[in-house]
């Protein structure tokens, strides 16, 4: 416990809350849980999200879906790029938070990689259709083409140990493809995620496109996995047993399920991400029309 020196100044601390529908509410359950730094010292009380919070987040994500998926790809790309600009502006804050959360001396390069990752996905928004779509030479007098479209509402369990780079690596592809997201932050390191939500809230990203929950993953995730208005599930942040349980629940409405590596290993988030995560949350729509005069 540090005491203030005579003539010194007391820090204004931040209240870390949920991010739902563009607002920052506390959990409706009124619960919170202490978050500690890698060295065990107290950092903050984070909101402990509940089933009701998860459902509110899905409602917000569904409501935001027509607008976000219907925006032009160029517009989505610009909004996402704007997020990268805001990240850059808060670089020092993220470095401090990642260092505290992960106890790493590499926080600066992690934040740099995070910003670059976001820029990479921002640039994808208006390339996806050309790369994943096709014109189909059918054997008849028809014009036939296939376009990638966003899957819908995606529930994302953020990686457990990479609190910022990992989070951005799983969230940005969902957004670039035009889907909206309900993210459950890393349970023990949620603070960089909440600060990211503050960046999203000030980056022209429409409210509800990203909704962020903090709390106990094992408590919140089953409600999302079984939710009938969730279209896809990214299980990267779930351990093997939980992931299997959630995968089973996801079958109730044929959710698209993206499973991370088995055995609890964390992927190398600095590696080239490829297009696999982009493709995971895209549908393909084929349109036929006759040719004639």
């Amino acid at each position: 416990m540090t005491t203030v020196e005579p003539g010194g100044r007391v820090d204004v601390r931040k209240t870390y809350k949920l991010y739902i529908g563009g607002a920052f509410p506390r959990s409706e359950s009124g619960r919170s849980y202490p978050v500690t730094a890698a060295d065990g010292s107290f950092l903050a009380n984070a909101a402990q999200g509940s089933r009701k919070d998860a459902r509110d987040a899905v409602v917000a994500a569904r409501k935001a879906f027509p607008g976000w998926s219907g925006a032009t790809a160029y517009n989505r790309g610009q909004v996402l790029y704007r997020v990268a600009e805001m990240l850059e502006g808060r670089r020092a804050q993220f470095v401090a938070e990642v260092a505290a959360a992960e106890g790493t001396g590499a926080a600066e390069s992690i934040v740099d990689a995070t910003i670059d990752r976001w820029v990479w996905y921002a640039g994808w928004a208006d390339k996806i259709t050309a790369v994943f779509g096709s014109a189909n030479p059918v054997a008849g007098p028809y014009f036939d083409f296939s376009l990638p479209e966003p899957t819908g509402v995606v529930a994302v369990l953020a990686p457990r140990s990479s609190s910022l780079l990992g989070l951005v690596s799983v969230l940005a592809p969902v957004l670039a493809g035009g889907s909206t997201a309900v993210v459950v932050a890393a349970e023990h390191q949620p603070l960089p995620a909440i600060t990211l939500a503050e960046v999203l809230a000030t980056s022209d990203l429409p409210g509800g496109v990203v909704n962020l929950l903090t709390g106990r993953v094992a408590e919140i995730a089953p409600w999302l996995a079984a939710h009938r208005d969730v279209n896809a599930l990214d299980l990267t942040g779930a351990d093997d047993d939980l992931a299997t349980e959630l995968e089973r629940a996801a079958a109730d409405n044929v959710k698209r399920v993206f499973r991370g590596p088995r055995g609890g290993t964390e992927p190398d988030w600095r590696a080239d991400p490829g297009t696999r995560r982009l493709a995971a949350f895209l549908e393909t729509k084929t349109v036929w029309h006759p040719l004639g005069i």
């Binding site: 279209n231 349980e245 044929v254």
Partner: protein, 484 residues
């Protein structure tokens, strides 16, 4: 309208080269297997066509083991250009034996010969021909720099397009270097077994394709088999969900092509004669045994009466009867069980207050038959507007604005297909963009092509069949293996 009499014009049944008994196909040989035998019947007259073995657990074990051996020792190491030539051979042999396959299909399934002859069989051949060409070009498919097969694919297919579904499953799997264990549907095993014979004729290495007839138990044993790396299923949403549930945590790859309840949307400016043909093709093609059938007609209120008058007139000209007759439009319902389901749902339609209509229609005395049926006065809450009937039953609803049409069309857990009929180009594209369905047919319906990706949104499944997209479900994900 004048009534036209048609003289019978049946295809010769002998063309099918029907045998009394068929074997299951394991490791390049036809064998009897360890289990019981079942009879497959002609749904048009309930006569037994042939006896077929039911594959039991030990047969599944043997087939999966054969597929594994073939995968490791022969098929995966074989250069793509060589795999391609086997697929080209199969495509050609399907063409050569096309009439035989068409007649056999109509006998076993009950579909009109003009459909099996003009749609099922040519498309099956085309599918092999199309994917044959991909086998040595996978690196150019935009699916990663070093596309590799997954391993052994367990594939379960339905009874509505028996040969065509077998082609949809086998061709992309083989082109990408996987080996296959295919389970045809309980009521329609015959053409898949002739396809196995074609694989023999093509000298496809033993074990690359295995065909296991049987019912749900055989399918369940196959998809749950630990030696299977990839599961592909086409069938009901209910069974699809069960498979997805059972595969949770196994790491096995899955693609699902499930049910549908497609809206076929007619605007007031549509070319009505063509639209009526599209409505008829949409729901009465293959007796409505089509997952992407246009089973919900959404017609703009101002033209509803006109469209229904035209539709009733047109339905009066459809000929229902002998599937082998070249003039037949509507064949037999595939099975007693399916007929019972159609009857149950149509009874529910009446009980819930919708108005039922069928054209005057003489049903044969024997076999499984159901007349083309149209329900009007249907609300979105009715079971016949929500549940997949999988029969020749059309539910008619109306709408006033394009936005209402979109709202109603998307108001279903399914998302396989949709139809839009309007002469206004911008409206077609506007509608196509908003319909949450994997295939949108604009001013046409029920078109299929091996070059065209097909598959569902939402509870209609995931993964695509056809086109470049159809390769992806059969390629290993490098990133996955690398741990990202």
């Amino acid at each position: 309208m004048p009534t036209w009499e048609y003289a019978p014009a049946p295809e010769a049944r002998e063309t099918a080269r029907l045998r009394e008994s068929y074997g299951m196909f394991i490791d390049g040989e036809f064998v009897d297997g360890d289990g019981e035998r079942m009879k497959t019947v002609n749904p048009a007259d309930e006569a037994v066509l042939a006896e077929v073995p039911v594959a039991g657990p030990s047969d599944v074990d043997r087939a999966v083991a054969a597929a594994r051996r073939a995968y490791e020792q022969v098929w995966a190491p074989l250069p793509g250009r060589e795999r391609a030539k086997y697929l080209f051979r199969i495509a050609r042999a399907i063409q050569e034996r096309g009439r035989e396959l068409a007649v056999l299909e109509s006998l076993d399934n009950g579909k009109p010969i003009k459909e099996s002859r003009d749609v099922d069989v040519p498309l099956a051949a085309a599918h092999f021909f199309y994917y044959a060409g991909w086998a040595d070009k996978l690196r150019h498919a935009g699916l990663g720099p070093d596309p590799r097969p997954i391993g052994v694919a367990g594939q379960v297919i339905p009874w509505n397009f028996p040969l065509l579904m077998a082609a949809w499953k086998l061709a992309p799997a083989l082109a990408t270097g996987n080996t296959c264990v295919l389970k045809p549907a309980e009521t329609t095993p015959l053409t898949a077994l002739v396809l196995a014979e074609i694989c023999q004729q093509a000298e496809l290495p033993p074990g690359v394709v295995n065909v296991l007839p049987g019912a749900g138990e055989t399918g369940a044993a196959l998809v749950a088999h630990p030696g299977v790396d990839k599961v592909a299923f086409t069938g009901s949403t209910e069974v699809g969900k069960q498979i997805q549930r059972n595969l949770a945590g196994t790491g096995r790859r899955l693609s699902l092509e499930l049910g549908g309840k497609a809206a076929n949307i007619i605007f007031d400016d549509a070319a009505l004669d063509q639209a009526v043909e599209g409505i008829v093709n949409g729901i009465f093609f293959n007796q409505g045994h089509v997952c992407c059938a246009g089973s919900r007609l959404l017609v703009q209120e101002s033209i509803a009466d006109t469209v229904l008058d035209l539709l009733r007139d047109r339905l009066g000209t459809l000929r229902l009867g002998d599937p082998l007759d070249k003039n037949t439009d509507i064949g037999a319902i595939n099975s007693a069980a399916q007929l019972a389901r159609i009857r149950e749902l149509t009874a529910a339609g009446e009980a819930e207050g919708a108005h039922r209509w069928s054209p005057p229609c003489q049903l044969p005395d024997r076999g499984f038959w159901f007349p083309p049926t149209v329900f009007t006065g249907v609300s979105q809450a009715h079971r016949i507007a929500r549940e997949e009937i999988f029969g020749p039953v059309l539910s008619v609803l109306t709408f006033r604005t394009p936005a209402e049409a979109v709202e109603k069309a998307n108001n279903t857990p399914y998302g396989l297909s949709a139809g839009v009929w309007t002469e206004k180009g911008s409206r077609i594209l506007w509608m196509a963009q908003r319909l949450r369905a994997g295939v949108v047919w604009a001013n046409t319906f029920n078109r299929f092509d091996p070059a065209s990706p097909f598959g569902g949104y939402k509870e209609s499944g995931f993964g695509r069949e056809g086109g470049r997209h159809g390769l992806a479900p059969y390629l290993a994900d490098e990133a996955e293996e690398a741990g990202a």
